[in-house]
């Protein structure tokens, strides 16, 4: 049996109204040191975390959206975003920031980390995990 487990971080909250989104991202960064198989899921209001053009200078809190683009350096390169959650909020993939990673096994080719999945696919992804951490 392999000692690597599949971890899924489930993000369902918008970024700045509560501390959940930032806490989730910090736990992901810390957890990345343990070399497990890590993926992130964004559904419901969680999809708002990935919108491009965030600028928090006026509200006096840190804009952590650029940090998602560092996740590739931490070998976290699966960001599943639920299509139905986007559509219900009037969003499409074009409203999200571009997040790329370099594929070590493919001569460091740049590839997108964001994968848009249906609600049914999201349910399947959740059902495949060893551990689910919710935020």
């Amino acid at each position: 049996m392999s000692d690597t487990k599949k971890f899924l971080y489930v993000n369902r909250k918008a970024p700045y109204g509560t501390i959940y989104a930032l806490e989730s991202l910090e736990v992901v960064l810390i957890g990345a040191a343990f070399e497990q198989e890590v993926a992130l899921a964004f559904l419901d209001d969680g999809v708002f975390q990935l919108t491009k053009g965030q600028d928090t200078t006026g509200i006096g809190v840190k804009n952590f959206s650029p940090t998602f683009r560092a996740l590739g350096d931490y070998d976290v390169n699966k960001l599943y975003v639920e299509r139905e959650s986007l559509e219900e909020r009037g969003l499409s993939e074009d409203d999200l920031q571009e997040i790329m990673y370099e594929d070590e096994d493919d001569d460091w080719a740049e590839k997108p980390s964001i994968r848009i999945v249906s609600r049914a696919e999201m349910a399947d992804i959740m059902a495949e995990q060893d551990v689910i951490l919710s935020f």
Binding site: L43, R119, A123, M126, A127, S134, F135
Partner: protein
């Protein structure tokens, strides 16, 4: 392989319970705790939607949270099963993973 989902928010305040039910696989269980237990009430605007989900997933409520909120057992939907803290622990061990819907 199955999942125990816990929901701790009232479905009249957030979409959490509906989102949870939308992501359940057949054979999963949903345990309503804290304010989540209001999702187990019969005769509400949401009862029908929740009852439909109950045909593919088992729905439980935590008795202590129901009692604390002054909800008599007969006000809960027939499809909902009450469990105590020991039953909560059993549910956790019977499923492969637990997902908390916050």
């Amino acid at each position: 392989m199955s999942t125990l989902h816990t929901v701790n928010k009232s479905p009249f305040e957030t979409q959490t319970l509906l989102s949870c039910l939308n992501h359940c696989k057949d054979g999963d269980a949903v345990l309503l705790i804290e304010d989540g237990i209001y999702g187990g009430l019969a005769g509400t605007g949401l009862s029908e939607a929740i009852r439909q989900s109950a045909s593919r997933v088992k729905i439980y409520v935590l008795n202590e949270d129901v009692k604390a909120r002054g909800i008599p057992a007969e006000r809960l939907m027939e499809e909902v099963t009450g469990v105590g803290y020991d039953g909560f622990v059993d549910l956790v061990t019977e499923h492969d993973r637990t997902q908390s819907w916050l």
